[in-house]
Point group: C2
Chain length 267, copies 2
Amino acid sequence: MSTTLRYLHHPASQPCRAAQQFLLENNIPFEEEIIDITTDINEQPAFREKYNPTGQVPILVDGDFVIWESAAIAYYISDKFNCPAHWWGSNPQERGHIQQFMNWYAYTLRLGGGAFHWTIFAPMIYGYDKDFTAEIKRGRFLLYEAFDVLENYWLKDNEFLCGDTISYPDIAASQDLVSHDAGRIIPDSIWQSHPKVKAWFDRMLARPHAKTVSTWQYENVKKVLDDGVKFDFKRKTAVLKGTEVYSGNNHGITHAGDDDSYVTQHG
Amino acid sequence: MSTTLRYLHHPASQPCRAAQQFLLENNIPFEEEIIDITTDINEQPAFREKYNPTGQVPILVDGDFVIWESAAIAYYISDKFNCPAHWWGSNPQERGHIQQFMNWYAYTLRLGGGAFHWTIFAPMIYGYDKDFTAEIKRGRFLLYEAFDVLENYWLKDNEFLCGDTISYPDIAASQDLVSHDAGRIIPDSIWQSHPKVKAWFDRMLARPHAKTVSTWQYENVKKVLDDGVKFDFKRKTAVLKGTEVYSGNNHGITHAGDDDSYVTQHG
């Protein structure tokens, strides 16, 4: 059994970029394996059985131990390799505050990721004839509201989200904004009315490893927006973390004509 | 400054019941303050400023330190009071696995809470003339799919979600099912096809403190279903954790005629 960590990921995925940046920031050696999430490779039963029943990346394989969920991977790495305490807190209050962020984030900023997903990738997955207006609107709503809470609460008195030193929440949240920034989802008016978020995001983006993990996304989303490039998505599930579920259905957001027998059968 | 913990909560809220059960299971002394979430008390600026910008409960006040988000409260309590290691894990693998559950849960089972919310409480909040079919369908979809992952992954080889001893995930997840069970959201066919989930839920519900924190919900939802009782909701936001955002809007799920100026202004 190899003692080298294996990191299965794809750079189009925000959670993948976040855990990868954490590995790099802490100089943890790992072998990376790109899982091409435009194909259905991670929807196959064998993949789900071996690694993750949801089929999602990122996944970390450490010998016999397999762990998925981006934040859990970073938590595990920090714990096992004794990474500096600023990442997950150095006393009960700091640690609690960081957990508070990660939970707030899961229900707000992360779900606002739909603003990017439904604008950029969804048409390639579900078809350009589909109308994603409602989904984009909901995503933008969550995103802008999350901006307000970032500005007026999390970044109110701090350089970083949970204090004056960087913690894992900064990596997780800034990688969400990388997608929105690359996809030109955030209007100037939102950046201008949230100057602390802007300054913090610029600070985060200037970190060398933030660039390393984000280059693919900026380059490829630019091709979509400026050159009309269309990725050939074989899979039919959302690529946005938190909006796909393991059976291959799209988080229950069914479009007219889509199969919903699983619901109606038990409805 | 009082040294007694203050716990602000409401028994209709799953996250409130979960953190409260955790406090009780660990014999942590606290003063409880019921925040009546049928009113707009926690939507007031003074409340948000003092405790939580999202207006949500539960909230724990420990002297000068205020912490919200149910799972973060339980994490903080366990950390500060050295609760038994089985709750959040006793080695990096166990701790990572528990974090993995809590993240998976946030994006799946917890969001399936909509099945309960949109069926039972939403009509009282938004009006009985509104059609919540799509929201209920999405909620059920997420819920049933989460049942599959609970059955075939988390509970596949264990008595409890993250191993053979109870951990915080068991409390969090079972309190979600309390709402669905009280609201009769889960059809017999789903229980029957998920026998491990059923046995685990029964095991969890048999714990004395599970009963303590759940009685209100069972009794009051029964009144709604059997006696046609209607609570007079003054607030206009969702009571479901993760589906309300701090400005008082309903998670972006706007109904025809509802205000969406915040989105259109920046759209």
